[in-house]
């Protein structure tokens, strides 16, 4: 007998059981070895929470399974190559990482991976097939991405892109429009650190190509923020399912008053939820918060918790639920 373990000399039901008893990273790695192992991994019916693609300096595919994140980085070996000539169809090097949470600590493992003749799209198709997930939850484009838009478009051709994010300022409105038209996200479009010109509502209006799930207001309201009236005109006629506020001071210096929040709610009228991220603790006052249930919202999210209309705590987002579980576990220790 060889020094290894003769797995495939075992009955099929036992082989399947072994595959069920390895970690999700190993299951994914095993699927890459042969057609037979791929078929077995397919039969495990793995369902990730999300798959995202980040096209920055390298092309990263991230697969989230609860507390486990698998990241596959596709890199060209020649990092000095001129960006205009970098193509991502066939990576020179593929790296495989796993981040996991062990006893409330994050740990990361890097796996070596020798690349075969496959291209990035071949890998994406492979993962989509074994994970039964035929869409990209989030595509992140960096303004200074190493990859031309045409390459990215080819890479995701035929796949639904739910959310599109930009991570850096773009000084070209045409570039943003081109990206949006090329990618056509089905749910949301997110501009981080957007340049000032996006404050021009008539020009911004073109980005609202369809109903969006979420409108996210950063640092609002303040002198630099987008005026409420303009937001209202921007979203006029569109259904906005969620309204989120972020970056509100955690230390008591509120940059937004109850009245401001109420004004935004009444103006935008989200159909499903209202999310207050990083709000100070005192908003956790049911009688004060109840005023925000001005319409038929499913829930309101405050930092790490969610409230129903009757003031009871709601469990609506998996990420919040997990946070509660960790916290509970921690308190029990």
């Amino acid at each position: 007998m060889s020094p290894g373990f003769p797995l495939f000399r075992l009955p099929d039901n036992v082989v399947l059981s072994v595959f069920q008893n390895v970690g999700v990273a190993q299951q994914i790695l095993l699927s890459m070895i042969s057609r037979k192992t791929k078929k077995i991994v397919c039969s495990l019916n793995l369902r990730p929470d999300s798959i995202s693609l980040d096209t920055g300096a390298s092309c990263d595919l991230k697969i989230q399974f609860g507390f486990v994140e698998i990241r596959i980085a596709f890199e060209k070996s020649d990092k000095n190559a001129e960006r205009e000539f970098v193509k991502i169809e066939r990576p020179e090097r593929v790296e495989f990482y796993e981040k996991r949470c062990v006893k409330l600590r994050r740990e990361s493992v890097a796996y070596g991976w020798v690349n075969g003749p496959a291209g990035v799209r071949d890998y994406i198709d492979h993962f989509m097939e074994i994970l039964h997930h035929n869409w990209i939850d989030e595509l992140t484009l960096a303004w200074n991405s190493a990859y031309p838009l045409e390459s990215i478009q080819q890479l995701i051709n035929g796949l639904e892109i739910k959310n599109l994010h930009f991570t850096k300022d773009s000084d070209s409105e045409d570039y943003l429009v081109n990206c949006l038209n090329a990618i056509k996200p089905s749910r949301s479009f997110y501009l981080n650190q957007a340049p000032l010109y996006v404050r021009n509502r008539t020009r911004m209006r073109q980005f609202f190509i369809q109903n969006l799930d979420d409108i996210f207001i950063l640092d609002a309201p303040s002198d630099d923020a987008y005026p409420l009236e303009e937001i209202q005109q921007l979203v006029n006629g569109l259904e906005i399912r969620e309204l989120s506020f972020s970056q509100i001071s955690f230390f008591g210096n509120l940059e937004i008053s109850d009245d401001d929040m109420m004004n935004h709610l009444n103006a935008i009228r989200p159909s499903r939820s209202f999310c207050l991220d990083r709000t100070p603790l005192f908003v956790w006052n049911h009688s004060r918060m109840s005023q925000f249930f001005v319409q038929n919202l499913d829930y309101i999210v405050i930092g790490n918790a969610s409230l129903r209309k009757d003031g009871t705590e709601a469990i609506v987002h998996a990420k919040y639920l997990r946070f509660h579980l960790i916290l509970q576990e921690f308190l029990n220790d």
Partner: protein, 179 residues
Amino acid sequence: MSVEPEVPIVQVEEVRENPVLYKIISSDNHVFTISEHAVKLSKTLWDLITNLGLTAENALDNPIPVENVNGKNMETIVQFCERHKYDEEEPEYTNYIREFVLPEWDRQLLSIDNEELFQLILATNYLDIQKLMDYCCRVIGDMAKDKTPEELRIIYGIPTDAEDDALERSASDSPGPSG
């Protein structure tokens, strides 16, 4: 010709708790006694006992021959079943990873070489002992921890697609049982 057992009969220290004991004879004629609660962990053995109509009165007079399992593996299996006979039933797993930690006692029990582990798994599969099968599979699964695909291929002896194809071709070319 009868073969004398090479190892003494394994006496299980559970008589006080459960007086019902069964005798099992392994393929190499080693005799083991096992308590009723423990033997229930093996679906195959328990079905056999039920079908043979063995009772507390006649169980020890009617040893059960198990021709597919040798004495060494049977000893491990009996130890395991006695250890876990009062365990609560595990909930069905629904997630993509089986969430359990292999207890240290069981890890020690299963710290055997690959050939022995292979034979033990075949025996466990034959006797249909789900918990021991899960634990054995976890031990094999742990071999994959932090390994690269190429290392996984070597550790598990996974054939390449070309090797699988060649094997399939040779299987289809070879004459069947009739000819």
